[in-house]
Subunit: 317 residues, 2 copies
C-alpha cells in the first residue's frame, strides 16, 4: 500500500499534540493528550504510541504511514534522544532514546526527532511564510525563546545536534536577570512570555506610575498584552523594551548567517501590533549597513495548534 | 596537459601575495607586490594579472593552472565582486567585478573569490588545525576582526554571500567604542590589533599606573605584546580584557552553530600566551552547560605568509 501520510507529534510540558498529515500539509485527524504524570520514560512512550496508533486507526490510514516526526524540547536530531528537558519529568534527569523507543512501540514506523523550534522552522519552510526560502531564522517566543536556523534549505544542527540556542545568547551583559539555564542576561530572560511578565513586575515595583496591571495579583504576558490594548502606557513600554532587546540580538544573528528573513512565532508573536515596530527599528539600527532595511521581519501565519504538528510532520517525509 | 596546480592570491590593503600551489598544499613559488596606488580597478586587475602570469611562468606551470582562488576584503563568493572595501582605493566606492575581470586578463583561467576570513577558514580546513572538521569557526584577529564559519564542511555564505561578519556583532551594548563600520561597541573595536592599542591608550589616560608603554609616542598592539612579555602589568591586563570580551562573544557564536572548535588566526593570535586563558575562561563561563569545556579553542599553525595564499588557493580546486 502506498505510504502517503505521516504523523506529526509535538511534545510540550503541558500536553502532547498529534496529527495525521498528508503531503499537502492537510491535517486529516488530530488529538491532544495531557502530558503524562509518570516519570518513567517507558510508560510515557507507551502512552504516546497508543495515542498515535488510535489516531491513525481513526483516520483510516493504518499501513499508510510513511514516518513519524517529533518535535520536543531538547530533542536531538542526530541521536533521536531527548535529554535533560526540565519541563518533561520523564526526560529531565538523563537522556531518553525516544525515537527508537517510539518506533519500536509503533510497529517499526521510522521516527525522526528534533527540538520544537527546529520543527517549527521546518513547518514554516514547508507550509508557512518561509516557503521557498533557503536562508531564514525562526525565533519562537513562547514560555522560553527557541530558535531554528535554516541555511541553504537545511536546519542547522551543528557538530552535536544542539545548534541554534539563540534564546541563551547574551542580551544584557552586566547585571542581567538570572535565566532558567543557570546563566544571567539571556535573551530568553527578557523576550519570552515569562520575560515580558518579569519586566512588567519590575517596572511596577520601581515606580508609582499608574497602570491597570497594578490591580492584578499575578501578571502574565497575556495581561500585559491586554493592558497594552487598553492603552496602558507602562504595558506598551514593556513591549517597546522587549522589542528593542530582541531586535538588538537579531542584528547579531543576521551578521552571523545573513538570512533573507527572520520569522517570529509563538504566543508573544501575537502581540505583533506592539512588538513589530520596536523590534524592526532596533534590528536596523544595530545591523551593518549592508543589511539595513533588507532583512524581512515576518510573523508566522500558521495556526498555532496546527503549526507544531505540521512542523513535526514535515520532518517525517 | 593535466592541470594539477592552482594559484592563490591574498589581496590586502598593503600588499598582494601570490603563490602557485600543488594539491598537497605545497607552495611552489610565491611573490608579493605592493598594493597599487591606482584607484582604477582596470589598472589594478592588469597589475595583478601580470604578476600571476609571470609567477606561473617562473614556476614553469604555464597551461597547468586549473584555477585561481582569491581572498579579498569584502569579496563576495556568489558574485565574484569586491564592493565598498575601505582599504582598497580601487574598490572603496563601488562594486568591482573582480573575478570576471581577472579571469579575462589571465586567458580565461576560472577565478573563485571570497572574503579573506573565509579563505583563511578554507585553508585551515584543507591544510591546518581544522583538517577533517565539519563544523568550526575561524576568527581572524588582524587590523580588523574577520570570521569564516564552516558548517557541514562548507563555508557559510548566507542569502547574499556576506554571512560571517562576526567582527561587527555587538560586544559592548552601551557606551561602546565607535567602530570603522559606523556602529559602536563592535567586537572589532575591542579585539583587533587596533582595539588592543586603543584599550592600552585609554587605560594609560585613565590612571597614573606605571607602564613601559608610557614611554612610547604611538602605541601598537605589538608594543602592548612586547610590554606584556617584559612583565608590564597594565599590558597584561589589556590582554586579559581583550580575551574576556572575545570569549564572551565566542559563547554567543557557539550557541548559534555548535562548532567543534574555534580557530584563532592573525597577528593578535600570536599573543597566545596572554590571550588563550582569559578567552577560554570567558567562553566557558558564558556558554550553556552542554558546551562547557567541550568546544576547543585552537590557534592556527599555518605560517602567516603561507596561510593566506593557501586559503585562497584551496578555493580554486
Amino acid at each position: 500500500m502506498a505510504k502517503d501520510f505521516v504523523v506529526g507529534i509535538d511534545i510540550g510540558g503541558q500536553s502532547v499534540k498529534l496529527g495525521v498529515v498528508d503531503a499537502r500539509g492537510e491535517v486529516l485527524a488530530q488529538s491532544v493528550i495531557k502530558a503524562s504524570a509518570s516519570d518513567d520514560a517507558k510508560v510515557v512512550v507507551k502512552e504516546i504510541a497508543d495515542a498515535v496508533l488510535s489516531l491513525v486507526a481513526q483516520a483510516g490510514k493504518k499501513d499508510e504511514i510513511r514516518g513519524i516526526g517529533v518535535g520536543a524540547p531538547n530533542g536531538n536530531y542526530y541521536t533521536g534522544s531527548i535529554a535533560f528537558a526540565p519541563n518533561l519529568p520523564w526526560a529531565a534527569h538523563g537522556s531518553v532514546d525516544f525515537a527508537k523507543m517510539l518506533s519500536a512501540e509503533c510497529g517499526g514506523i521510522p521516527v525522526t526527532l528534533t527540538n520544537d523550534a527546529n520543527a517549527a522552522a521546518v513547518g514554516e519552510m514547508a507550509y508557512g511564510v518561509a516557503k521557498g526560502m533557503k536562508h531564514f531564522i525562526m525565533i519562537t517566543l513562547g514560555t522560553g525563546v527557541g530558535s531554528g536556523i535554516v541555511i541553504d534549505g537545511q536546519v542547522l544542527y551543528g557538530s552535536d545536534g544542539f545548534a541554534g540556542e539563540l534564546g541563551h545568547t547574551c542580551a544584557v551583559r552586566h547585571n542581567g536577570r538570572p535565566c532558567g539555564c543557570g546563566k544571567t542576561g539571556c535573551l530568553e530572560a527578557y523576550c519570552s512570555a515569562i520575560g515580558v511578565a518579569r519586566t512588567a513586575r519590575e517596572w511596577l515595583d520601581m515606580s508609582d506610575e499608574p497602570s491597570v496591571l497594578r490591580e492584578l495579583q499575578e501578571i502574565s504576558s497575556k495581561d500585559v498584552y491586554q493592558a497594552a490594548k487598553e492603552g496602558d502606557a507602562l504595558a506598551k513600554r514593556v513591549f517597546d523594551f522587549t522589542g528593542r532587546i530582541l531586535g538588538e540580538k537579531l542584528a547579531d544573528f543576521v551578521e552571523f548567517s545573513a538570512p533573507e528573513a527572520i520569522v517570529l512565532f509563538g504566543g508573544l508573536a501575537r502581540a505583533r501590533e506592539f512588538i513589530y515596530e520596536p523590534t524592526l527599528k532596533a534590528l536596523n539600527e544595530n545591523v551593518l549597513p549592508i543589511w539595513r532595511d533588507k532583512v524581512r521581519l515576518l510573523f508566522s501565519q500558521l495556526k498555532e495548534s496546527d503549526a507544531a504538528i505540521l512542523g513535526a510532520s514535515a520532518l517525517a517525509w
